[in-house]
Amino acid sequence: MLNSIDDIQKSMEKAKYICDRSLATSVYISQVLGKPLLLEGEAGVGKTEVGKVIAEIFQTKLIRLQCYEGLDSAHALYEWNYPKQILEILLSQTKKGKNDNLNIEKTIFSEKFLLQRPLLEPIQAQSEVPVVLLIDEIDRSDEEFEAFLLEVLSDFQITIPEIGTIKAKKRPYVTITSNRTRELHDALKRRCLYHWIDYPSFEKELRIVLTKVPELENKLTQQICDLMQRIREIDFLKKPGIAETLDWAEALVALNKDYIDKDTLEETLGCIFKYREDIEKFRELYREGICF
């Protein structure tokens, strides 16, 4: 059990996630209050990683629900195992010869024939330590699904008409991430603690890169972080996050580069930018000597 904000921060750093005190506070409060933690921020700043790291520091299982358009309760919560149910009916017919309808109905609509999906699994979990439920990119899902989540997130219980209400024995640690492609409903937000993850400062980014890519030379790391900070000051379609910094750093290690020159930069631009327009804009700025 991690009993203080310091413990959380140190453990996260041990798990190679450099976090500031405010994020550690949010994680700690979320743990002690048993409230879901809603993380918002630009793509690639390390929101999903928080969920993974929480599972690692609490040494518990991570259950991830990747949201997408059209996600419904059948894919997120539970589904009846229809082939298995049909087989059970056929078997019971051959065994008894007579159809005991009531018994069959009770049998085939029991937990044995339930297919667990990511939301049901943490509620039915029997482990001593609560599991971590990561609901990733919730803004991609439909508003109907968001409304459906309300029961799960407020009471940590699920109602299955054929079985009844199942309540979690231990509240899972829930982490929800959003890229803010759409605004989430207030009803969902007020059930969560909120934390905005911003782009890292130069010092923090330097620490992250040195922790994640230790084989990189100090001078080259500084050069990478410095360039990334300057790129983020310019209005690109998609500003590179920390994920892009790490990708670029790993690419430079793979290419055995000791410093960044014009050719290296040109060869590895794909690691930094994800849009053709951004690459062209960067080339133009580089040619004109603006900022770089």
Binding site: S4, Q9, R21, I29, L33, K189, R190
Partner: protein, 204 residues
């Protein structure tokens, strides 16, 4: 029967101030629900509230739910609790202090730190008396302050306030371009002139 929402160990004198702070946030348009206020109170039991940074982060994570509100929250928070913004912002980095080693506070803020520490040490016996004890008032403190000791932030705020007051009390000249709702048959010379001058036809 009412449900016990937080432990009786919670410094009761502190509660009215926290609720007042939430009210101020709501006045500025930040959506703060009752549940969030209760959770904020519960959260404060788990942290060292004399640590300004932890206090700030805890209230922020509990009471906010939109990125746009962060700036409003910061403005109200630093004004209301009279904490040093610089001190907290510096600590928002990766460096941190342990709970046993509270950060050093400037002399002028020392009494406030002591005041909050006192809140934390309050026990249940004092619960009934909290309304009788004079509480800290930011407005009163500001009234006693000398202008020469004001920080740049305060001076900026004063400038803004003066310009707002000036806007309100300035002599307003009529800039009416549309007809008044008042039912009158009198000829409006200024409106007619403006209409003619702004007309593209140029038939005057």
């Amino acid at each position: 029967m009412s449900k016990v929402l937080f432990s009786s160990q919670f410094p009761s004198k502190f509660l009215p101030r926290l609720l007042d702070f939430c009210r101020k946030l709501k006045e500025e348009g930040v959506k703060v629900t009752l549940h969030q206020e209760i959770d904020a109170c519960r959260s404060l039991q788990y942290i060292n509230i004399s640590n300004h940074n932890d206090f700030y982060c805890t209230l922020k994570t509990n009471l906010l739910s939109r990125r746009e509100d962060i700036q409003i929250f910061d403005e109200i928070f630093f004004h209301y609790w009279d904490f040093s913004k610089k001190e907290i912002m510096e600590k928002r980095g990766t460096d941190y202090t342990t709970e046993d080693e509270p950060a050093e506070y400037p002399d002028e803020k020392e009494h406030l730190y002591l005041e909050i520490a006192d809140y934390a040490q309050d026990d249940l016996k004092e619960e009934k008396e909290f309304l009788e004890i004079p509480a800290y008032s930011p407005a009163e403190r500001l009234l006693e302050k000398d202008f020469s000791t004001f920080e740049d932030e305060y001076l900026e705020a004063i400038k803004k306030a003066i310009s707002l007051i000036a806007q309100k009390i300035k002599i307003k000249k009529s800039l009416r371009k549309k007809a008044s709702y008042k039912k009158t048959h009198l000829f409006d010379l200024r409106r007619t002139m403006r209409k003619k001058l702004s007309s593209k036809r140029g038939d005057y």
